[in-house]
């Protein structure tokens, strides 16, 4: 095929694509107009039925809780998979010196963490952890939820690492505790769902007391509980994934800090 022919083929295909695209574009509903029945219906029902003013969370963790549990286990499987591939046994790592990536070379020259970076990151650790915790525990009342809260909670620990405090990073995130927390978060979500079946209700049915009034932290039954469990799972999974990737670097820095 000559370049000229190829260009012609592309031109024809591109013209066709543009034509079809514009045609489809003309059939779209107007900007901001939602023609489906589901949206108005859920807006009408969600708050009276669940007492959760965070309607998006009510959909995520109650009406569509079944989808969310699938997503939850995708993350769980990803973190478990990374641990299986990357977690090395002691003794295994020393034999691979010549093939080790750049960040694992023992005598690599690492520039020291500058004082402004250290101060800025350490000052941010507390507020970041608080924000993550707040987001994970307020899904029922505000636009937030366990996924966002979990990642932000985990990034508080990333800040500890960024500030050059490798020993503190490992002390705050012992691998055994993370493994257990991740399993507990994911398993807890499934257990909340299964507990409904035991009571003769549909899987993930909202069977906990909904609280007296919508918009309070204690309202919404299983929605708040599941969001919190998701927060624990996501935070643990994310710290685990980053921890596995950092393990060699951490080990070397901890060893060096221990010496000096």
């Amino acid at each position: 095929m000559t370049p000229k022919l190829r260009l012609w083929l592309f031109a024809i295909a591109a013209a066709g694509l543009v034509a079809c695209y514009l045609w489809a574009f003309g059939g779209l509903p107007g900007f901001g107009n939602y023609p489906g029945p589901y949206g108005p219906e859920i807006l009408k029902r969600a708050i009276p039925e669940t007492n959760a003013t965070g309607v998006v969370s009510a959909i995520n963790f109650d009406y569509r809780g079944f989808d969310t549990i699938g997503e939850e286990f995708i993350l769980f499987a990803a973190a478990a998979g990374m641990s299986v591939v990357l977690r090395r046994l002691r003794g295994e790592r020393e034999q691979q010196q010549d093939r080790s990536p750049a960040d694992e070379v023992m005598n690599r020259n690492v520039p020291p963490t500058s004082s402004p970076l250290r101060v800025a990151t350490l000052v941010l650790v507390g507020p970041t952890a608080l924000l993550g915790w707040w987001l994970a525990t307020h899904a029922q009342t505000n636009p937030s939820g366990g996924f966002q809260g979990g990642v932000i909670l985990a990034s508080a620990l990333m800040l500890v690492y960024l500030s050059g405090e490798s020993i503190a990073f490992r002390r705050f995130s012992p691998v055994d505790l993370l493994d257990a927390a991740e399993a507990m978060g994911a398993g807890g979500f499934a257990a909340v769902g299964l507990a409904a079946i035991v009571q003769g209700l549909p899987f993930l049915d909202n069977y906990l007391p909904l609280g007296s009034s919508p918009g309070t932290v204690t309202s919404s039954g299983t929605i708040a509980l599941i969001s919190f469990l998701v927060g624990i799972e996501v935070a643990a999974a994310f710290i685990l994934i980053v921890g596995e990737l950092l393990e060699q670097t951490l080990l070397r820095q901890v060893r060096r800090e221990g010496k000096s």
Binding site: G54, V56, S57, S100, P101, A102, D103, V105, R108, L135, P143, S144, G145, F147, Q148, V151, I152, A154, S155, M158, F238, I241, V242, L245, L246, T249
Partner: protein
């Protein structure tokens, strides 16, 4: 409350910025720079969702697109890079 005209202008500006950000990500060739560009793009997307009144999605995009994904990509790049 801001007027609808101001909101519409803001929406158009952010949409254009997101389009420009996407081009920037595709045009960046060097890996570490690419990750930083991707992080900025995630930030722009988060602003886009916020301007279109979807605060839940904003938080997710901020946490995943601007923090988690770039961080994991940077660490993965450090893992596969060979010493000079």
């Amino acid at each position: 409350m801001t007027s609808p005209a101001v909101m519409a202008t803001l929406q158009v500006v952010v949409l254009v910025l997101v389009a420009a950000g996407a081009v920037l990500v595709v045009r960046t060739r060097e890996r570490v720079r690419l990750v930083i560009a991707l992080s900025v793009y995630g930030m722009l997307l988060a602003i886009l969702f916020f301007v279109f009144q979807a605060p839940d999605v904003t938080l997710s995009e901020l946490a995943v697109g601007a923090i988690a994904l770039p961080l994991i990509l940077l660490l993965a790049i450090a893992k596969v890079r060979k010493p000079e």
